[in-house]
Amino acid sequence: MNIAVGQTRRLAVSPYARRLARERALPLEALRGSGPDGRILAADVLAFVPAAAPANAPDVAKAAGIAIAAHRIAAFAASLALGAVRDLLAALASAGKTFDIDDIVLRAVGRAFAENPVVGSGAWVALELGGRQMACPTNSEMPMTLLRASRLEALDRGSDDAEKPALLSLRLLPAGDIRPMMMALLPGRAMRLAVTVDGVGGHAECLLATDADSIDEAAAIAWLSSLKSAIESPLRLFV
C-alpha cells in the first residue's frame, strides 16, 4: 500500500509528483502542496531540498531534523507496567513456546493501529536496529508464531528497509530507569515510538513522536493509550 492511502487526511498528490517523491525517497507528509486544495505538485517535490545520502546515523537524524524542523512535532509519553507480560512470557517459555518482549510490542503496535484506523495503516512498521531499519508485519490476524518467525527471518537477512513505506518507526532500548524525552522523526515516517525496558522487565517507558501536520494529536493519544492497554493486558494479544 502506498503510504498516503491510509493517511488521516488524504494527501492530494499529482501522479508525477508522487513518482518524483518515490524516486527520491521523500516523505510526502513532509511536503507542502502548492496546487489546488494543497495538491502536492512536481514543483513542490523538486523545490524540497533533499538531504545528501547519509553516511551514518547521526547524520540521518540531523538531516531529518532539518527537514522536519519546518513541521510541528507532537510528543507523548507513557509508563507501562510489564508484570503481566513478564509472567505470560515465562509461562509460554515453560510450555516450549518462546517469545520476546519485541514480539509483544510489535503485536501491540498492530493492535493500536487496528483500533485507531484514523491514525493510518500500520500493516508494516520499521524496527530501528542501530544503523538500519527492518520492516516488520504487525497484522493482528496473523498467529504470533508467524509474526515472530517473520521478524527473525528479516533479522537474519540484515537488509535496510529505510525506504520501504511504513508509517511508524519503533526503537526498543534497554535503559533501566532512563526515560526518552525528545526525538526527531525519521525520513518517510510520520510516527516514531521509543520503548525503554528496565533490566528486570517489570517496567517500560514509551515516547511517541508524531507529525502533527498529518496526525491529529487526539488520535495519537488514543493510539498510545491503545498500545499501553494492549501491553498491560497481553493475553488479548494472543487471541
Partner: protein
C-alpha cells in the same frame, strides 16, 4: 422497351436459335447444384451447425444460373442477403462456400464473412450483402473501373424487389445510365420484401418499367424460366460489354421457402394456393421437362445422372465444411487495415529538399494530378468537380488534363457514386469520392461504414476498398448547421477507416498522395477554413505517412494536441503563453486514425501537462480518448489533470456572434492551458445530465471574441475621409483575399452607381467591383498587384 414474358418464350420454342446442347445441360446442372446445396444447408441450419441465420435461394435458381452463364470469372456480380445461389452460379467452390456458412477457417472468407458476406475474388463474386440495395452501385463502379483499366469486363448487380424502392437503386441506375456504365441490373422480383407485398409499397410494381426513368432498357422476364433469363442476359451482357450502357432485367420469380430459415414458408403474408401455384412452376422441373420433351436434347436418365453427380458434390461440400477447423481466435485482430498501413511510398525516408509557397487547394490539386498521371486507374467522382473545377475550385484544371472519363461529374447522388467508388476501388481501380462537405457524408454513411470500412475484414484480407472520401470540413464563417461539421471522431470510431485532418498545405498534399496509394478507405477531411491558407510545400514527390504526428511547436511546460484548423489557433495561443513565460508544445496528430499516441506520450513525459483542443464535439471525442490514453500509458507523468477544449455541444449556428460563442478560439486555448497548469482544467458540460436541475448549463455564455477566428480581420480604411469606401466584397467562403488586376477608372473620374470600376482576381474567379454610389473616384488605396483581404478597402468615392 419491356419485352413481355410470353413473347420472349415464344421466340425460341421453335428451337432454331437454341445454344449448343452443353450450354443447356450446364444450365440444368448448375440449377441442380444450387437447389441441392441449399437443401443441405437448410438441414445443417436446422441441426444448429451453421451459426447465425440463412436466407435460402430455393425457387429462384433459374435467375442466378441464367444470368451467370454469360459471365467470365473477371466479371463481377454483387449480390444480396439471399446470395448463396449467386455465389455458386458465379463459380465459387461449394465446399468453401459451405464452410463459410459454417463459420470455418476454410470458408471463402475465412469465417469472417458468413452467409451474407461471401466474397471471392477468384471467381468475380463481389459479395452477398446484408444491406438492401448496397451492392447495386458497386456493380456500376466495377464496370466503370474495368473500362478505365481497358477491359470489357462488366459489373452485374442482383437485388430484390424490396431494393427497387431504395435510394441506392435509383441513384445507382441513374448514375450508371448517364455514364453508360458496363453494368447489368438484375431485379429478382419474388413479390415480397421480407413479408411486405410489393403491391402494397409501390403504385408501380412493374419494376422493369422503372428503367425508363433513367433512359435505359428495362426487360421483364419469367425468372423461373432459365432459358428466358439466359436470353435476356445474353443481350444485356453484349450491350454492356460493347459500351452501349446498362440494362435493367426484372426476373419475376418466387422463393418457395420462408424469408429466412426458421421463418414460416407461408407466414401471414402468403397463401397456400399461391405457394402451390409457384411450386408447379418450379424452375428445375420446368427445365427438365423442356430438355426432354421440348428440345429433345436429353433423356430422363441423363438428367438423373447429372443429379446424382451433384448429390455427391454437395455431400463432399458438407463433409468439407464439417471437417474444416474453426478460425484461430488469436487472429481476430488481423485484417482491419493493410499491414503495414502505409504504402511503400510513404515509408521512404523523407528527403528535406526544396520547397515553395503554395496555397492549400493548389497543393492538394497538384498531389492529385501527380498521382493521376502515375496511376491511370484513378477515377475522381464528385458533384461539379469536373469541367467546373469544383465548388471550392479544388479540382481546377484536372478535368482539362484528365478528361471526363476520369474526372467524373456526378449527379447529387452521394450514395450512388460512393457505392461506385467502393466497387471500382475494390476491383483494381482507385477512386476519389468527393462529397463536397463532410456533412454530406451521412448521405452515404452506409457505403462508407458498412461497405468500404468492413470489406477487408469480412473477406479476411482478400479484398479491400482503397478509396478516398474527400470533403471540405469544419466551421467557416456562418456555413450553418448543414455545412460546418468535421465529424472525425465519428469516422475514427469505425474500424477500417483511415481518418486524416491535415493542418498545412504540405500535409494536405502529402496525405492525399499517400491516400491515393493506400490499401484502405481514407476519409480526407480538409478544413475549409484552411483552403485560403498558404504554406511551404516540398517540391517533387511528397508523401506524409499515416499515424505520424507533427510537432508543430516544441515546448517544455504543457502539451497542446490540436488538429486541422485548431493547430493554428493553438500556435497563436502558444505565442500568447510564451509572453507569460509558459512554453507550450503543440502536437498535430495529422491523422486521427491511426493516432500517433506515442508522440503525445513522449511530449507529456517532457511537459507533464496536457490540453487537447479539438474542433469536433467532446462527447465520446478526441479529448476524452487522448486523456484516457495518457492515464493508461503515462499516468505517473501527469502533474495536473489533462484538459480538453471542444466546440460547444450544439449544432453550428448561423449568426456570427453565436458561431463565435460556440467555437474554440485562441483566447480560450490560452486560458485552458493556464487552467491546466494551475491544476484546474476547464470542466466540460457536454453531458447534459441536468437531472433535476435546469437543462441549461449553469456556466454563463462567454463574451464574444473580438476577432473572427480563422478569418483575417477586414483592414481599416486607409484614410480617414468622408468618402464612400470601395471594398473587396465578401463572397465565397473559402476565399480570403484577392489581387487587384485592373482599375477601370482613375482618381477624379466621375462614376455612376453600378459602374464597373475595378477587377480583383481570387483563387476561383475574377470579381468585378462596382461603384457603390454615384460620385467622383477620390482615392485608389490599393494599386494593381496589391493583395486585398475580403472586406478590405481598395478606394473611395466622394459624393
Amino acid at each position: 422497351m419491356a419485352i413481355s414474358t410470353a413473347r420472349s418464350r415464344d421466340d425460341f420454342t421453335g428451337a432454331s436459335n437454341l445454344p449448343d446442347r452443353q450450354v443447356l445441360l450446364d444450365l440444368f446442372e448448375r440449377m441442380v447444384l444450387l437447389r441441392r446445396f441449399e437443401s443441405i444447408a437448410q438441414i445443417a441450419c436446422r441441426k444448429g451447425e451453421t451459426p447465425g441465420f440463412l436466407h435460402l435461394y430455393i425457387g429462384e435458381e433459374a435467375t442466378g444460373v441464367g444470368v451467370c452463364a454469360h459471365l467470365r470469372p473477371t466479371d463481377w456480380v454483387t449480390s444480396t442477403h439471399r446470395g448463396h445461389g449467386h455465389a455458386l452460379a458465379k463459380g465459387a467452390n461449394p465446399g468453401r462456400v459451405m464452410a463459410e456458412l459454417f463459420g470455418k477457417a476454410d470458408g471463402i472468407c475465412g469465417g469472417r464473412g458468413g452467409t451474407m458476406h461471401l466474397y471471392d475474388r477468384s471467381v468475380g463474386l463481389f459479395g452477398t450483402n446484408g444491406i438492401v440495395a448496397a451492392g447495386i452501385g458497386h456493380a456500376v463502379g466495377i464496370g466503370m473501373g474495368a473500362r478505365q483499366q481497358g477491359r470489357d469486363d462488366i459489373g452485374v448487380a442482383f437485388f430484390g424487389d424490396g431494393a427497387a424502392n431504395h435510394g441506392g437503386f435509383h441513384e445507382a441506375l441513374n448514375f450508371a445510365a448517364v455514364q453508360r456504365a458496363p453494368a447489368v441490373f438484375i431485379c429478382e422480383n419474388n413479390l415480397y420484401a421480407t413479408a411486405t407485398p410489393l403491391k402494397s409499397i409501390t403504385l408501380n410494381p412493374e419494376i422493369a418499367t422503372k428503367a425508363a426513368s433513367y433512359g435505359m432498357p428495362g426487360v421483364a422476364v419469367d425468372g423461373n424460366d432459365v432459358f428466358a433469363v439466359w436470353l435476356a442476359m445474353k443481350e444485356a451482357t453484349e450491350r454492356a460489354r460493347s459500351g452501349k450502357g446498362p440494362t435493367l432485367i426484372e426476373a419475376k420469380t418466387y422463393r418457395t421457402v420462408g424469408h429466412h430459415e426458421g421463418d414460416p414458408v407461408i407466414g401471414t403474408y402468403r397463401t397456400q394456393e399461391e405457394l402451390d401455384a409457384w411450386i408447379k412452376r418450379d424452375p428445375i422441373d420446368m427445365f427438365r421437362k423442356k430438355l426432354v420433351e421440348e428440345y429433345g436434347i436429353a433423356d430422363a436418365e441423363a438428367l438423373a445422372a447429372i443429379e446424382s453427380r451433384i448429390e455427391k458434390v454437395v455431400e463432399e461440400a458438407l463433409a468439407f465444411a464439417r471437417n474444416s477447423p474453426e478460425p484461430d481466435p488469436a487472429t481476430v485482430r488481423l485484417h482491419v487495415f493493410a499491414d503495414p498501413i502505409n504504402p511503400p511510398a510513404a515509408l521512404q525516408p523523407r528527403v528535406v529538399g526544396e520547397t515553395r509557397t503554395q496555397g492549400w487547394l493548389d497543393a492538394v490539386r497538384d498531389g492529385i494530378a501527380e498521382e493521376m498521371r502515375t496511376d491511370p486507374a484513378i477515377l475522381y467522382f464528385g458533384e461539379g468537380t469536373g469541367e467546373r473545377g469544383g465548388s471550392f475550385a479544388h479540382t481546377k484544371n484536372l478535368w482539362q488534363e484528365f478528361g471526363a472519363d476520369r474526372m467524373v461529374d456526378t449527379p447529387i447522388s452521394e450514395q450512388g457514386f460512393t457505392a461506385a467508388a467502393v466497387g471500382a476501388s475494390a476491383t483494381g481501380a482507385r477512386t476519389v469520392s468527393d462529397l463536397m462537405f463532410a456533412d454530406f457524408a451521412f448521405e452515404t454513411a452506409g457505403q462508407i461504414f458498412l461497405q468500404a470500412a468492413k470489406l477487408r475484414y469480412m473477406t479476411s484480407g482478400r479484398m479491400s476498398a482503397p478509396m478516398v472520401v474527400r470533403v471540405g470540413a469544419g466551421a467557416l464563417r456562418s456555413s450553418g448547421p448543414h455545412h460546418s461539421g468535421i465529424y472525425h471522431p465519428v469516422f475514427a470510431h469505425m474500424p477500417g477507416l483511415i481518418v486524416c485532418v491535415p493542418s498545412t498545405p504540405a500535409d494536405a498534399k502529402g496525405l492525399m498522395k499517400t491516400a491515393l496509394r493506400a490499401g484502405d478507405p481514407v476519409i480526407m477531411l480538409e478544413p475549409k477554413a484552411l483552403f485560403a491558407s498558404k504554406g511551404e510545400v516540398p517540391v517533387g514527390d511528397h508523401y506524409v505517412p499515416f499515424g505520424v504526428a507533427r510537432i508543430a511547436r516544441p515546448g517544455a511546460d504543457i502539451t497542446i494536441v490540436a488538429a486541422g484548423q485548431m493547430v493554428q489557433r493553438a500556435l497563436e495561443a502558444a505565442e500568447t503563453l510564451a509572453a507569460e513565460g509558459i512554453d507550450a508544445e503543440v502536437i498535430d496528430p495529422r491523422t486521427i486514425m491511426p493516432l500517433d499516441i506515442e508522440t503525445i506520450v513522449a511530449s507529456v513525459r517532457k511537459t507533464h501537462r496536457l490540453l487537447i483542443v479539438d474542433e469536433a464535439w467532446a462527447m465520446c471525442g478526441l479529448g476524452g480518448e487522448i486523456a484516457q490514453a495518457i492515464n493508461e500509458l503515462a499516468f505517473d507523468e501527469l502533474d495536473a489533470p489533462p484538459g480538453r477544449l471542444h466546440t460547444a455541444p450544439t449544432s453550428h449556428p448561423f449568426a456570427p456572434v453565436l458561431e463565435r460563442a460556440m467555437l474554440v478560439d485562441t483566447a480560450r486555448i490560452a486560458q485552458g492551458a493556464r487552467d491546466v497548469i494551475a491544476g484546474k482544467p476547464p470542466v466540460p458540460d457536454h453531458w447534459y445530465t441536468a437531472g433535476l436541475k435546469s437543462a441549461v448549463p449553469a456556466i454563463p455564455a462567454p463574451a464574444p471574441a473580438k476577432t473572427t477566428p480563422g478569418a483575417p480581420a477586414p483592414q481599416p480604411p486607409a484614410a480617414a475621409t468622408n468618402d464612400e469606401p470601395v471594398t473587396m466584397p465578401f463572397g465565397d467562403l473559402t476565399v480570403s483575399e484577392g489581387t487587384v488586376i485592373k482599375w477601370l477608372k482613375a482618381v477624379g473620374d466621375a462614376v455612376k452607381e453600378g459602374d464597373l470600376i475595378a477587377e480583383i482576381e481570387t483563387d476561383k474567379a475574377v470579381v468585378e467591383i462596382e461603384a457603390p454610389v454615384t460620385g467622383t473616384l477620390s482615392a485608389i488605396d490599393q494599386p494593381v498587384g496589391a493583395v486585398v483581404p475580403m472586406g478590405g478597402r481598395i478606394g473611395g468615392i466622394s459624393k
